[in-house]
């Protein structure tokens, strides 16, 4: 994640009113995890499994917090079990901020399957999402994802890629 994208993502989380973040750091969004962990207005809960992170976020929402889960898109596959159980089953909103590994521009072979699965999986889980490839769109996209998440009582996602992560 570029320095500008880091600032934009952090600004977006704060502007959206996110006050509770769980997640599993990945190579692209590691700086955001570090930034959020130091933000005194956001409770940060690191996990070793994105499904657990989703459950924790959902529990925090039941207690009145505004949660977001930050993870690589591979984590969507792990979290999908609990997204389906909790959010499709009962209607709980969590904002998802995902690195879009495997998007056009990917350099790593292991990221390709993550890119193949991510969008069909979001569709299957009825999760509305925005793909953000330009830094200037990142902050407002997070705000809008959180907004519809609250309105529909279901997760909404932002997939981060393009100029947000590469300076080629």
């Amino acid at each position: 994640m570029t320095a500008a994208a880091l600032d934009a993502a952090h600004e977006g989380l704060r502007a959206a009113g996110i006050d509770f973040v769980s997640g599993l750091p990945d190579g692209w969004q590691r700086p955001l995890h570090e930034r959020v962990e130091l933000d005194g207005d956001i409770r940060y809960v690191p996990v070793c499994n994105e499904g657990v992170g989703f459950s924790i976020c959902a529990g925090a929402w039941l207690g009145g917090r505004k949660p977001a889960l930050i993870m690589e898109n591979s984590g969507l596959r792990v979290a999908s079990e609990y997204i389906a159980r909790i959010s499709l089953g009962t209607g709980v909103p969590v904002t998802l901020l995902c690195s879009y590994r495997g998007d056009v521009g990917e350099t790593e072979h292991w990221g390709i399957p993550h890119g193949i699965v991510a969008e069909p999986l979001l569709e299957a889980l009825r999760i509305k999402y925005l793909v953000v490839r330009h830094v200037e769109n990142l902050s407002k996209s997070i705000v809008r994802a959180k907004r519809i998440s609250e309105a529909q009582l279901h997760p909404a996602a932002v997939l981060v890629s393009g100029d947000c992560v590469w300076e080629d």
Partner: protein, 217 residues
């Protein structure tokens, strides 16, 4: 000797602090029996879940650190996602107490002449030992009736993040099944939390609140 589940859930319900919140396990006999003992009190969230109940309770405990949170889970559910215990041990919220109904069986799926399908706790797996290994400050494996009341009273007399595994006989009572689904249960729990905590969780968009304030100064 392992305990009768319906009976010990009744003991837990009788000792439950009035101002606590409860996150209960999956739809099935445990949920039916707990709802029966607690007269469907809205302080209990029955969200039809499995594999994520401790995670939900942990998130709730972190969101409301001043409020005692009681989690009621089953062995099959805990085994489905052991990473929850890692997070619990890492965070150690002192307002969270987890009780596990450990009957060593996948009871809700029914049984045949071969008996019930066993969970791993019917073999060598010890959930309390796993929780301790994950860093949960207080863990105990309750196997005898005379231990149970003391463990419940201890859990509610202090503020220590606790994992209490209760070995239970397979079998269930014949209370009436619940009629609600996870969505209705979610709403009634959230409304209860809103009243209890005097907070807004969902239902009225913030712009509508602002609008009405404008028109009705």
């Amino acid at each position: 000797m392992a305990l009768d589940r319906y009976e010990w859930l009744g003991r837990l319900a009788a000792r439950l602090p009035e101002d606590c919140l409860v996150v209960s396990t999956y739809i099935g006999a445990v949920s039916f029996e707990w709802a029966h003992h607690t007269e469907e009190h809205h302080r209990s969230a029955h969200l039809g879940q499995m594999g994520d109940v401790i995670g939900l309770a942990l998130g709730l405990a972190l969101a409301l650190p001043h409020r005692r949170i009681v989690c009621l889970d089953g062995d099959g559910s805990v085994l489905m996602e052991l990473g929850q215990l890692v997070a619990m041990g890492e965070q150690q919220p002192d307002n969270l107490v987890v009780f596990v109904v450990d009957n060593g069986a996948y009871e809700s799926i029914g049984w045949s002449g071969q008996g019930r399908r066993p969970t791993a706790t019917a073999g060598r797996v010890d959930l309390a030992a796993i929780a301790a290994g994950c860093g949960v400050p207080y863990t105990v494996d309750v196997t005898a009736e005379d231990e149970l009341d003391a463990e419940i009273d201890l859990a509610f007399s202090r503020s220590v993040c606790s994992f209490i595994n209760v070995r239970t006989r397979p079998g269930h009572s014949h209370v009436r099944p619940r009629r609600t689904d996870g969505i209705e249960d979610k709403y009634r729990f959230v409304r209860y939390v809103e009243r209890l905590e005097d907070i807004w969780i969902t239902g009225v968009p913030p712009q509508d609140i602002a609008l009405m304030k404008t028109r009705n100064p």
